[in-house]
């Protein structure tokens, strides 16, 4: 065991090097947030005199907004998976008549600029009283994640061997039981992947946040950051501090979720 680990060490090093390059802009962001100097242009490579003023400001002003973002993002994941997983299964495995048409509609829905949807939703939300509400944002954010999740899940589910489901059906299980007891567990990896991206889409949404909220009571953190920039004095340190701070719960979520992506989940099930 120990021997394998040493042999794999070069991979770890290579991975770290690549990650370092990929994440340099992230480092630069944190670096800037620690240098609350007046001129971002003068930021040094390493924060020699780090100051946490920006973080204090970010925590005091943005904590509530982070909570909103988290609630919206988690809500979007749940709603998306509930709607998308059965649909993806149906599209992948049932010989339904209008499947081609549904697929086409899903793809077209992904081609529409977000701003077009946001503008149309505003009027409807206004009539329905969904402006400035977390459910309203969840429904809106799902416009990106539901079609996406269906397409992704369907692509993964196509490789589920029909024999798996048929075996359960022969045992007398209805469609839903077969779905819950066979399809969902076997598709765990892909469901987590789709959920991750639903989370990320909702977390980083700006268009719907800015269009469908007006009050400070329901304000996702992207919008909170944005208001820093439209204030008279543009100060980047709190922007970067908020961005850095706000990503911490999300990072934890990502690491946690990724742990559950298992190798060869399907392979095991087929045996």
């Amino acid at each position: 065991m120990k021997q394998t680990k040493t042999r794999q060490l070069p991979y770890t090093v290579l991975g770290i090097v690549f990650l370092a390059i990929m994440l340099f802009p992230v480092y630069w962001m944190v670096n800037t947030s620690l240098q609350s100097g007046p001129a971002a242009v003068n930021a040094t490579l390493i924060p020699l005199h780090p100051t946490f003023v920006a973080y204090q400001q970010a925590i005091s002003e943005q904590l509530g907004n982070m909570g909103t973002s988290l609630a919206v993002a988690v809500g979007t994941v749940i709603f998306t998976l509930l709607v998308a997983t059965p649909a993806a299964y149906a599209l992948a495995k049932f010989r339904l008549r209008w499947v081609g048409l549904v697929m086409l509609a899903l793809l077209i829905s992904q081609m529409i600029p977000g701003i077009v949807i946001a503008n149309a939703l505003y009027t409807a939300y206004n009539d329905l009283g969904l402006l400035n509400s977390i459910p309203g944002l969840i429904l809106a954010d799902a416009t990106t994640s539901i079609p996406f999740a269906i397409l992704i899940l369907r692509a993964f589910m196509e490789s589920i061997p029909p024999s798996l489901v048929e075996a359960a059906r022969v045992d007398g299980a209805g469609h839903w039981r077969a779905f819950w007891s066979i399809v969902v567990p076997v598709s765990r990896n892909s469901i987590i992947t789709a959920g991750l991206f639903s989370f990320l889409f909702a977390w980083s949404d700006f268009v719907f946040a800015v269009t469908l909220t007006t009050s400070a009571t329901v304000r996702p953190v992207t919008l909170g950051i944005y208001t820093y920039l439209t204030a008279n004095i543009q100060s980047w340190a709190p922007v970067m501090a908020t961005a850095a701070l706000a990503s911490i719960p999300a990072i934890i979520f990502l690491v946690f979720a990724q742990r559950y992506i298992a190798a060869g989940a399907l392979g095991g099930a087929v045996k």
């Binding site: 149906a90 529409i112 701003i115 977390w203 190798a263």
Partner: protein, 318 residues
């Protein structure tokens, strides 16, 4: 495989001629099957139907700020489309959109695939590193595009300072301020942004390939590149299709990153159909023209998708 049903769209499979009883049982079955799809279909209809119709209607109207208040928008037929296509900017934005999309997709996909294969080997810390790869997606684009702007600044940006220090380049490169370089810079940043998406989904696809297939292939002497060619690639095909199609569709409508970095400039060097549509609508308040451009964008997106899926299907059939 994703392609197949799509190509069948419109043809519709004929209902099989069967005895009545069988047909009735079948229709109960059908209803049960449609129940899986119903929530999604209803949601899509509600949340996408209205915006699409509205956008199409708008593109045939003289839709201005006044329209919002009065509701009056005179019909102008194809005038908005004609003025868009006649404008000399149209060919520029078309070329930029093409270059931006092709450049971004090739870069994202190749690097993403390489990373997915790399992470497939489990090594110490691989899980954590894989999670951290998604970090660029957690940063609000408004923050990351500002950071990129500083990094790419011609005079004080860290990238030019590093390149000059290492003597890679004799003079500072005007990353964002020269019309000849700006598009490349924007593509590079967009590749950076797209790598996590490609790598993560392709990685998920790789995990679904049964290990037995590799073992069997290895017995036949297929390892390394051959294993990729004959085991990985065919198995990954449905996922690759989705990643590429969605990648192109998403890239065609990229707006934020371009607005954040260059705003379509300098001198329209990074102006794409998406940014131009945004500008027509929200900068010049010519909403009809903006809608026309976004509809053109949707049609291009659609044509690409259908053509790609058909070609892909043919490739599978052969």
């Amino acid at each position: 495989m994703t392609a197949i049903d799509l190509a069948a769209a419109g043809t519709g499979q004929a209902a099989p001629k069967e005895p009545l009883r069988r047909q009735r049982r079948l229709s109960v079955e059908r209803i049960a099957q449609w129940a899986f799809l119903a929530p999604a279909v209803i949601y899509i209809g509600l949340f996408f139907g209205y915006p699409i119709v509205k956008n199409v209607v708008m593109s045939f109207q003289d839709y201005t700020t006044k329209t919002f208040f009065t509701g009056e928008a005179p019909w102008v037929g194809f005038a908005n489309y004609v003025s868009v296509i006649k404008n000399s900017l149209f060919s520029t934005t078309l070329i930029n959109t093409g270059l931006f999309t092709v450049g971004s997709i090739v870069g994202q996909f190749v690097i993403g695939m390489a990373l997915a294969l790399f992470f497939k080997r489990r090594f110490p810390l691989s899980g954590v590193l894989r999670s951290l790869l998604l970090l660029p997606w957690l940063l609000p684009l408004i923050a990351s595009s500002a950071v990129w702007k500083w990094i790419l600044d011609q005079d004080s940006g860290i990238l030019n300072q590093a390149l000059l220090f290492l003597h890679v380049t004799p003079a500072a490169i005007p990353w964002l301020s020269s019309p000849n370089v700006a598009l490349i810079s924007v593509i590079l940043v967009n590749i950076w942004l797209g790598i996590p998406f490609n790598a993560t989904i392709l990685y998920g696809g790789l995990q679904g390939i049964p290990e037995e297939q590799y073992e069997a292939a290895a017995l036949d002497g297929a390892t390394g590149w051959k294993a990729f060619r004959y085991v990985t690639w065919p198995n990954l095909r449905p996922v690759v299709s989705v990643v590429l199609v969605l990648g192109v569709v998403y890239t065609l409508k990229v707006l934020d990153i371009i607005l954040g970095l260059t705003g379509g400039g300098p001198a329209n060097a990074t102006q794409t159909l998406a940014t131009n549509s945004y500008q027509q609508s929200f900068v010049v308040f010519s909403f009809g023209t903006g809608a026309a451009i976004s509809n053109i964008l949707i049609v291009i997106s659609l044509v690409f998708t259908v053509v790609y899926l058909r070609l892909n299907r043919r490739a599978i059939d052969e």
